[in-house]
C-alpha cells in the first residue's frame, strides 16, 4: 500500500510540469511532446488478456506499440506506471454528455396544437448533436474522470431529438473530436405537452406516419430523379429525409429505453417498421429478457442502479407487513443490480450507457453488478470492445492494440479492485490526470434561494417551468409557474432540511382543487426529485439554477 502511494507520488512529481500544461487546466499550454511511453505497467489489451510489466507507446494520438520489449523513442514523455494497470478507454454507449437541455427558449404558444411546427413537437430528426455540444461543459470532464474516453452523444428533446455522434471526450470542439457523425437516429418515446403528439399513443402513431411518409417521398424522389420530365416536382422535406438512412437500413435508431414499457414500445416500432434498433440505458430490461433477446435489438444497459437499502437500527421492531415490503424492495434492487449478469447468462451481448448515472457511481455500481454475478471480463467488454463493435468502430477503439486510437486508462490497481483509483486518462493521446474530488458537504442546509428552471415528465408528456424561492432570515417562501400557462402559484409548507427541500401547491383541476406535493434533493446548482399530484401519480422532476 505504502509503496503504491509512493509510486503514484513519484509519478505525480514526474508529471508535475505536464499536469500544468493539460488542456483542461487554466493555462492552455501544449505538452512538450505528443509521444508518451507508459512503462512498467500491467496492460490489459482486451478483456481476458494481460501483459505484465509492459510498455504502451503512444504517438500522435495513436497506439504505436504494446508489449514487453518496446523501444522508447527519445522524445517520449515517460509515464512510469510500475504496479499500475492500463486499460482501453471506456466507451459510453450513449448519453447527453456535454449537451445542455435548452431551457432558455420560451416555448411559443401554438395556434393549432393539433398541427404544430415539427420542431415545436419535438420532431427534429435532422438536427445534429454536434451543433449542441459545449466542449468545456463540466459533465465531459466528470465522465472522463471515470475512465470514459468516448461517448455516443445524443441531443436533448422529445420524440426525435436528432442525430447522434461518437465523440472523443477531449474537451475540444465537436468537429475536432468527432470519430463518427450521424451514428444513430435518436428517439425518446415521449410526447410534447400541449401539442401533437403529446402521449405515447400519439408518438407511436406519429412515428409510423412519418416513416411511411418518408418511404413514400423517398420513392417518389427516386422516380423523379430517374426521369423528372412530366412529373410534379417533389418538395424537399428535411424532416422526412432524415429517415432515409433508417429506411435503407444504413442507420440504427437509438431509443431511450429505461423502463420495461419504454423498451417494449421501441421493440414494437422495430417490428412494425423493420428498424435496426439500439435499446439505450436499460434499467428494467430484466423482466423481459427473452423478448429482448428474441428481438435481436442491440442493448446498452444502464450504469445507473437503485441505491441499496439502508440498514436500520430498529429492524427487529418492524411489523410483519413492513418486513415483507422491505423484502420485496430488496428483491427489486437485487434484480436491477443483477440485470447485467442475467443478460450475460442469457447470452445477450451488451454495452453500457452512462446517460443517467452519476459519474461517481460508475465504479461502485459496476462492483455491485460483479458482486451479483457479472464477470469482470464481461463488464470490461461492455465498457470497451462491445460498444466499439456496436458502433462499428472496432478497428479504432476498444482495445490496447497497435494502430488504435490512444484512448487509455491508467489505474493504480486492477480496475475492479475495491480501492482502485483511476489516475490518468488518455484521450487520443492527450493526457488527463484524475484528481480526487473533495466530498460534498452534507451537513449544511442547501442554498435553495433564487430562481430555478425545472422539468417534469408525466404520462401526458414533459413539462417545465420556473420555481422561485425566497429566504428571509430562514423563512422560506416561493412561487412556482409553468412556462405554458405562465400561471404563478404560491407554494406552501416549504421545508429545507440538509440537501432536501419539500413544498406543496394547489392547482385547479376542472373546477376542483388538487394538491401537488414536491420533494427534491439539491446538489449545487441542480435539483432532482419528484412531484405527486394526488391520484394522478408521481412524476420525476429535475431542474437547474438560473444564471444570475
Amino acid at each position: 500500500m505504502r509503496s503504491m502511494l509512493a509510486y503514484s507520488f513519484r509519478i505525480c512529481f514526474v508529471l508535475a510540469a505536464l499536469v500544468a500544461a493539460l488542456p483542461a487546466s487554466a493555462q492552455d499550454l501544449a505538452p512538450v511532446s505528443d509521444t508518451y511511453a507508459i512503462t512498467g505497467a500491467t496492460i490489459v489489451p482486451a478483456p481476458g488478456q494481460k501483459i505484465e510489466n509492459g510498455t504502451v507507446l503512444v504517438q500522435n494520438g495513436l497506439i504505436t506499440g504494446v508489449g514487453k520489449n518496446i523501444s522508447i523513442p527519445a522524445d517520449a514523455i515517460i509515464i512510469k506506471a510500475d504496479s499500475m494497470f492500463v486499460y482501453a478507454g471506456f466507451i459510453d454507449g450513449y448519453s447527453h454528455v456535454g449537451v445542455n437541455p435548452d431551457n432558455s427558449e420560451k416555448k411559443e404558444k401554438v395556434k393549432y396544437p393539433g398541427n404544430p411546427p415539427p420542431g415545436r413537437a419535438g420532431i427534429t430528426p435532422q438536427a445534429d448533436v454536434r451543433d449542441f455540444i459545449n466542449p468545456t461543459d463540466a459533465s465531459i470532464a466528470a465522465l472522463r474522470a471515470q475512465g470514459f474516453t468516448v461517448s455516443q452523444i445524443v441531443p436533448h428533446g422529445n420524440m426525435l431529438p436528432g442525430q447522434a455522434a461518437v465523440v472523443l471526450l477531449k474537451g475540444e470542439k465537436a468537429d475536432q473530436v468527432t470519430i463518427s457523425g450521424n451514428t444513430a437516429l435518436y428517439s425518446e418515446l415521449s410526447g410534447t405537452p400541449g401539442v401533437y403528439p403529446s402521449t405515447i399513443m400519439g408518438v407511436m402513431a406519429k412515428w409510423r406516419e412519418l416513416y411511411r411518409q418518408a418511404a413514400q417521398t423517398k420513392n417518389y424522389q427516386a422516380l423523379y430523379a430517374s426521369n423528372p420530365t412530366g412529373l410534379e416536382r417533389p418538395e424537399t422535406d428535411r424532416t422526412l429525409e432524415a429517415f432515409y438512412p433508417v429506411i435503407d437500413r444504413r442507420q440504427s435508431v437509438l431509443f431511450k429505453s429505461e423502463k420495461v414499457l419504454e423498451i417494449q414500445h421501441a421493440l414494437t416500432l422495430k417490428t412494425d417498421l423493420g428498424l435496426q434498433v439500439i435499446l439505450g440505458d436499460l434499467k428494467e430490461g430484466w423482466p423481459i429478457i427473452n423478448k429482448i433477446k428474441n428481438s435481436g435489438a442491440k442493448v446498452l444497459l444502464s450504469l445507473d442502479l437503485p441505491a441499496e437499502m439502508k440498514k436500520e437500527d430498529n429492524a427487529e421492531k418492524k411489523s410483519d407487513e413492513r418486513k415483507a415490503l422491505d423484502k420485496r424492495k430488496a428483491d427489486a434492487i437485487a434484480s436491477s443490480t443483477s440485470q447485467a449478469a442475467q443478460f450475460a447468462k442469457a447470452g445477450i451481448v451488451f454495452g453500457f450507457s452512462a446517460n443517467t448515472v452519476k459519474p461517481a457511481d460508475v465504479r461502485p455500481n459496476l462492483m455491485r453488478m460483479i458482486a451479483s454475478g457479472l464477470s469482470e471480463e464481461t463488464a470490461l467488454a461492455a465498457l470497451t470492445t462491445t460498444p466499439a463493435q456496436m458502433l462499428g468502430l472496432s478497428n479504432r477503439l476498444g482495445t490496447v492494440e497497435n494502430g488504435k486510437i490512444a484512448n487509455l486508462i491508467i489505474s493504480d490497481a486492477p480496475y475492479f479492485n475495491k480501492k482502485s483509483k483511476i489516475k490518468y486518462v488518455l484521450v487520443e493521446g492527450t493526457l488527463f490526470s484524475v484528481e480526487d474530488r473533495p466530498k460534498a458537504d452534507t451537513g449544511k442546509k442547501a442554498d435553495v434561494k433564487g430562481s430555478w428552471s425545472y422539468q417534469t415528465e408525466t404520462p401526458q408528456g414533459k413539462g417545465d417551468g420556473k420555481l422561485v424561492i425566497k429566504n428571509e432570515n430562514g423563512n422560506y417562501s416561493g412561487t412556482i409557474t409553468n412556462s405554458f400557462s405562465g400561471k404563478e402559484t404560491e407554494v406552501k409548507d416549504l421545508v429545507v432540511s440538509g440537501n432536501n427541500m419539500s413544498f406543496n401547491y394547489t392547482i385547479d383541476v376542472g373546477g376542483n382543487s388538487l394538491k401537488v406535493d414536491v420533494a427534491v434533493t439539491i446538489s449545487g446548482d441542480t435539483l432532482e426529485g419528484s412531484m405527486t399530484a394526488g391520484q394522478y401519480g408521481t412524476f420525476p422532476l429535475n431542474g437547474t439554477r438560473d444564471p444570475k
Partner: protein, 436 residues
Amino acid sequence: MKNRFHIVLGAITTIVIGLIWQTEAQSPKGKTGTFALTNATIETITKGTIANGTVILKGGKIVEVGTSVAIPSDAEVIDCNGLKIYPGMIDGGTTVGLSEVGSDKKTQDFNEAGEVVPQVKALTAVNPNSAVIPVTRVSGVTTVIAKPDGGLFPGTAALINLFGYTPDQMYAGFEGVVMNFPNTGRRGFFDRRSDDEIKKAAEKSLKKLDEVWDKAVQYHKLDSAMKGKGLDYYPEMEALLPVVRGERMLMIEVNAAKDIQAVLKWVADRKIRKVALTGVTEGWRVADEIAKAKIPVITGPVIAIPTRDYDRYDQIYANPGLMKKAGVKVAIRTAGTENVRNLPYHAGFAAAYGMSKEDALRAITIEPAEILGVNDKLGSVEKGKNATLIVCDGDPMETKTQIKYVFIDGWMVPMVSRQTLLYDEFLKREPGVSKN
C-alpha cells in the same frame, strides 16, 4: 328461489307504484298525522326483531311498538304484511345540499375561503330544494351530516333530516366543528425525507394547529373569567369555544395510519372530550390504538380503492369490520353528495367482507346516532323516538330491496324524485319513434 320471489314482488310493486304516480299529481306532497304500520316485521336494531308487529306514529314520534298494540281511531293504517320496518338510515358525512352539480363551482357551498373558519355553518347553506334530497330519501337514507370541507377548520357541520323547507325544519339535533388533520406522514412515493425530517415537518404543520387550539383554550379561560361578557368579537374562537368546553363535537378528518396515530396523541394531550374521527380509511392498521383511545369513528367510503398499491384488494371493504372487531365504535358514511343513496351498500360491502350484518346495519343507524348524541331521537325503532323510519320489502342493505315508505319526523314522504318521474315519463315515451 328467493331471488325470483323478490323480483316478482319488486315488479308488482313497481307497477303498483307506477299506477299511483300516474293517477296522482306530478308533485305529491308529504303528509303527517297518525299512522299505524301493521303486520310488519320490525327490526328495532336496539331491541331485536318483532314479528308481525305494529308501529304507531303520532305527533312526529313513535308512540307504540309491539305485537299487541291498539290502533288509534284516527290512524291511517298501512298494512305492512310481508314488509319490514327499519329506522331511517343515517349518513355521518356528506355534502348533500351543499353541492348541486359537481363540476360547477357556482353550485358548490362547502368550501369557504380561509384555513380557519369554524364559524361558517353548513346548516344555513343547505339547499332544502336540492334535487339530491328526494333522490336520497326515497332510498331510505333519512338523515345526513352536511359537512364543510377544505382548510384546517372548514366550518361547522350539521345533521339534517332530508325533509323540510327551512333549516329549522331540517335540523336533526347535532352540530359539530370539522377539522382536517394535517398530513404528518410521508406525503407520497417521492418523499425522500428522513424520519427525522418528517418528524420536524409534521411538528411544523401541527404547530399551526396547536396555535389555533391554544388560542381557543386561552379564549375559553378568559371568557370563563369574564363570565361570558366583555370579550371582543372573535367569531373563530366563539365557534371553537363549545368544542374546548366539551359541549360540541370535534369531527376530525384523518385517513393515513400515521396521521391517525398522531391524532390520537394530539387529542389525548389536550384532553379533548368530544371527538369523532372521520374517514379513517387506514383505521385497520391502527385499530387497537383507536379502540384503546375510545374515540368513535365515522368511516367511509367503504366502496373505494385501497389506499396503497400493495394493500390487499379488499382491504378497504374489510376496514369497518376490522375496526369493529378491535373494539372501535364504528359508523359508516359515503362521503358523497349525489349518491348518498348508496349508504346501505357501503354497509353491505362491509358486511360482505367481514363485518356482521347486524353490526353493518347498526353502523348506519344507531351507531351514528349514538356518536352524534341523537340516539334519544334517532337510530332505532323505539317508543318515544322520532318517527323517522322506513318500510321496505327486505334487508335494506340488499341491492334489490325496494323501499316502500319513508317517514321523517312523522312526515310520510312522497316516494317520488326527479329520477322516478323521468322513469315514469320515459319508460314508454309518447310519442315513440314516429309522431303520428
